[in-house]
Symmetry: C2
Subunit: 321 residues, 2 copies
Amino acid sequence: MAPGSAVPPPVTAVLDASQRWLPVRLGEVEDTLRASIAGWGEPLGEDAGATLAAGGKRLRPMLVLLCAGEDGGPEAVRAASAIELVHMATLVHDDVLDEAPLRRGLPTVAASSGRARALATGDLLLSRAFALLSEAGDERAVLLLADAAVSLARGELAQRQDAFDLTIGEERYLHRCRLKTAALFECAVSLGRDDAELRRFGAQVGLAFQLLDDVLDVTGPPERTGKARGTDLLDGTVTLPLIAAAERDPGLREIDLPGLDPAGAEEVCERIAVTGALATVRARALDLVADGKRRLAHAGFDPERRRLLELVADGVVQRYS
Amino acid sequence: MAPGSAVPPPVTAVLDASQRWLPVRLGEVEDTLRASIAGWGEPLGEDAGATLAAGGKRLRPMLVLLCAGEDGGPEAVRAASAIELVHMATLVHDDVLDEAPLRRGLPTVAASSGRARALATGDLLLSRAFALLSEAGDERAVLLLADAAVSLARGELAQRQDAFDLTIGEERYLHRCRLKTAALFECAVSLGRDDAELRRFGAQVGLAFQLLDDVLDVTGPPERTGKARGTDLLDGTVTLPLIAAAERDPGLREIDLPGLDPAGAEEVCERIAVTGALATVRARALDLVADGKRRLAHAGFDPERRRLLELVADGVVQRYS
């Protein structure tokens, strides 16, 4: 989200379409996030506060709230806040490694306050998420969120283990994405409502989100994504666009990934683009969202709530169209 | 703990003195730790496994188990394992920042597998701690551990905020130590048994532990501590030995902390030592342990269990004698 714009377009669409209760609950989530970070009688929450103020799409909280529905109450608000705290923790920790100067157009915690504070801030956000849920005795929510947080860390470890390995195939890539991204979306919907079809909806939308994010890393432009094209390549992360492109241009499996510089990474991005692989991956993501919506149809929501959840799913896709 | 020695001396003393149940439970903790890290059907737990295998004094698990007593059962073993996972997470994350090559005589995760994997491994250990407790529905334990984890992160943030600030006084230093170290000791005893005097015992022993750790950073020798003398100084961390020494040698408040190199840090260590401040800090730590033991006397334990807990407290001190 660009600084200055209060709410990104897909979210606005959902808010416009919803009854009054959703914006009210989302406001309560923001209040809870602020209270989770501040209020210790010392100015330690600065970095976490900066991360919070930088905003974000709040996709995961919105999924929690929509799935819980109008009667979700404070429990849903807490769960929505806790999942966003975990998400923020991963962003802050990612920045420690990437040494990225900017996120969402604002300086990262790592850039403005150093790696040490960013690391501790991430730990703080993660711990606060569990403190928030356990203070209220939300036992089921703690379990769901702890499992999702384990998946996130496993996904990160898997990605590092695979770094610079050009033999990584689609299956392994999808496994990583399920751990790294889809698990938290699945957790979000499950926090709102316990239903197997709904869980599948969350997982598919989350997977689509990661696929499209990986496409965006290849296409840029940096002005829109806030990072240079080919950041994944420079990081050694082999994603589906490269895997799919290499099926059409096998020479891509021979590139010197560890030796790439930013200019070289841009060239590889171009080479991936000309194979047409990006359209394939995008189509794949749209299929996932379509499948997710079909699952959603069997999750027993009334037509209005189902429509709102479909709007969130569409929001994930629109972001990249 | 040096590699090769299975159990460090203070722990051996407690084990020798205890009935058969404690070694059995500690063995179950090791099994639980191993199971928490491995068993995902993929070799991702390597780094976490290496951290686990490097051992440690297992002081916190021992406090949990002793406070819970012989009837503590699986709940106490889980709590003891979870708190050690949180402790291990902080060690792994510390290594990310310190770029320390060794811990306990073995290569750190950061050194052997890179900062990225170390960061994710720490997140994994932290998340696994909450997953372990929540899987069993230990609601009270989740709350205690989440609060302690928040304190740890706050302590780390406070320390970074204070970095290179030679005006830091004793009170602020103690506040940091309570967050960074004492909170987890307090959590350990509370996980075993809910008692206000016992909590105070845990907090005092934890505080003494940190004070003595900070003395050890000044005294070395590196062969024993596994790190160079004056590591805290190089890190910009102002600790009680320096604060107390500067009261006797005010010139110490004028040193160029950001400009110190390892040789300069050794010199400052010598200058701190000649003031006699180290003996003062050591005496302070012994007083804390003595106060902790007095509190313990009112916690309602039978004489045998009280004696074992006192042995653990003595173990903390003996480590430095």
